[in-house]
Symmetry: C2
Subunit: 384 residues, 2 copies
């Protein structure tokens, strides 16, 4: 035996990953699930392992395997929490690192024990905290986006001013704004924050401007602090571009302490096939929340992207189902929404949602402030 037998002093605490596995039959499904147990931990054939604590505790363990019809099986596999080293990067790796290269295996759900969740801070604000910041206790929140990339900082600030005067709650930037020469980050964020805060002073509203701090790895925190110093009251980041742990880093910065919006850029491929990748529920629901985001931006059903109602329901569940002591976070569906869609969106999402109407707000009529006012009026008309 090449590997020496090993005795480990592990806690016995385990976390669960629910996988959907395509297989020819039950025996094949079992073999594939066993393959996942090894691949996601020791990356070593079972025959090479000693009959020790590595095989008994480190290797993933099949907790259940159920046929779902159509050649699909649901496998629940548990892993020792120690395999994650209590790192978000490594938790994602144990969940799906190498198995992402296999065909027909999809992550459906994470079930993380309090003993693991407690090592990650979770959302700082969540739904209740964001509502308190905005002083909007019940109704759906109103979100829009500054656009298009190419405008100057001054022109963008003018747009932000009009939108804030009209009464939108959250003005995020398009995720394509970073530090382009036509609207450099520092100047843009200062001008836009000033414009929104000036509008707030006039209206009495508490509109939040959320600049995009998706940036090179060594500039993310710096931009977030620059944003805060400029008077921005939230930030947006795209973990598909920066890595998920950058969200956690922003969340844990006690001197920053701003709400975080998570943007889906480059994550779409994980949900593009129903047989592979990571379910909407996990990647746009559970993961942003685990990483510490307060709202999760995604594309709504019936817009210009192919997400379905079931996909969106899964995201809402991930954003709000019990998850240790974490608060629920806001789903923020957008991607081709218009004011006409709001009643339908309200019927579907209820009050605990941020309506993200961006292009549709600009297209609604020639007066942007008036468009924003109509947006607010419509949202105010929804009775809880």
């Amino acid at each position: 035996m090449i590997f020496p037998p090993t005795t480990l002093a592990l806690s016995g605490e385990r976390f669960l990953v629910h996988y959907q596995i395509r297989a020819a039959d039950e025996a094949d499904a079992l073999a594939r699930a066993r393959g996942v147990c090894l691949e996601q931990t020791v990356e070593t054939p079972d025959a090479l392992l000693a009959d020790d604590d590595i095989r008994g505790q480190v290797v993933g363990r099949i907790e259940s395997l159920r046929a779902q019809g159509d050649g699909r099986f649901d496998a629940v596999i548990s892993y020792a929490i120690e395999t994650t080293a209590l790192e978000l990067t490594q938790l994602l790796n144990v969940m799906f690192g190498n198995t992402a290269m296999q065909q027909g295996i999809r992550v459906l759900h994470l079930d993380l024990p309090e003993s693991l969740l407690a090592h990650f801070p979770g959302p700082r604000f969540g739904q209740p905290g964001l509502r308190a910041l905005l002083d909007v206790p019940h109704r759906p929140l109103l979100g829009t986006a500054l656009k298009p990339v190419g405008l100057s900082a001054g022109d963008l600030a003018d747009l932000a001013h009009a939108i804030a005067l009209g009464g939108v709650d959250i003005i995020k930037e398009d995720h394509g704004f970073t530090n382009q020469p036509f609207a450099p980050f520092a100047e843009r964020v200062q001008r836009c924050a000033n414009a929104v805060n000036r509008a707030n002073a006039q209206t009495g509203y508490r509109c939040i401007y959320a600049p995009n701090v998706t940036a090179p790895a060594d500039e993310i925190l710096q931009r977030a602090h620059l944003a805060k110093a400029a008077g921005a009251r939230a930030v947006m980041i795209a973990p598909g571009l920066t890595g998920w742990d950058a969200v956690r880093l922003l969340r844990e910065d006690e001197s920053l302490a701003l709400p975080i919006l998570s943007h889906p850029a480059l994550l779409g491929t994980y949900v593009a096939s129903p047989e592979q990748g990571i379910a909407h529920h996990v990647i746009f629901g559970q993961l942003p929340r685990l990483a510490g985001a307060d709202a999760t931006i995604f594309v709504n059903y019936g817009g210009r992207f192919p997400f379905t109602q079931a996909d969106c329901q899964g995201i809402v569940a991930g954003a709000s189902l019990p998850m240790g002591a974490y608060p629920a976070i806001f789903p923020m569906p957008g991607g081709g929404m218009t004011l006409e869609r709001l009643p339908d969106m309200h019927a579907f999402y209820g009050d605990n949602v941020i309506f993200l109407v961006a292009g549709g707000l600009y297209a609604n009529g020639p007066d942007l402030q008036e468009n924003a006012r109509q947006f607010r009026e419509l949202a105010g008309s929804f009775r809880p």
Copy 2:
């Protein structure tokens, strides 16, 4: 017009992204390609744009659109290099950020002008630099992995010692090793580096130990420097877990200056469907090289993963085709390889490859040092 007309002073330099688009017919393909041009830049309907430099220069431009049969079209779209803000995160975003949420669109190839490439450092060592470090001018390089997760630092060091004595060139860690309690990073890396360097002193070989520095965002550089101080002579990182820009960060650190191996964890979903995501060529070839890795680890055809020969050829092309002043980087195929596969791998990859034989090295026979010796003997038998 809500958006003011804008005049921009752009360089006129553009980069190209080759997309595969599924469409019903040529008109549909053109409409989808136009959608990409807007989605990846201004995220605004064309009807809302002024007839200005935003529409003319910032919005992506279709350079060609060709039917490939079977409802597939190849679209080459160009973007102003200024849209990337010269940031790797934003370059990836312009390439595919929101479009990753569409069905049936895949990134096939990047064509980046020198004016853009020059802003990223590219590989520090590449093939020639890594060969010089190892003093192996011609033959294929030999790589293996330390495993399994669960062993103690001391036991892992014993394995590394035996492998290095046998003459393997590069010993990377399994990417599941981070900072687990059973083999904490600092202790493990110190012991393994010592073991490999002790073996080198005995053999005269220059075996390189490459610990995994995939870690929380604020610990990556720290671990890499700890590794260097311990005597490790390369590092491995998984950009699917950390974000791609973490590779660039390691590369640009002049006081680190170690070779970087890029690991494919969590990137598999991008290649899981031939109709979506990002082609092998790009995600395992061009991107690691652009980010500054010196070798790209992926799974070989005919192992325990479903990559094909064409997939692997695409990766080799991405790792070695002309790309500004960047050196070629090493393809490092593994994932179920054995010593028996080496002649076939050599016929396929030629000399400029790192054979990654990991589980197969341990399984080859009861004496690990002898297994490593046989590995070296086999590789030495290949005549250029």
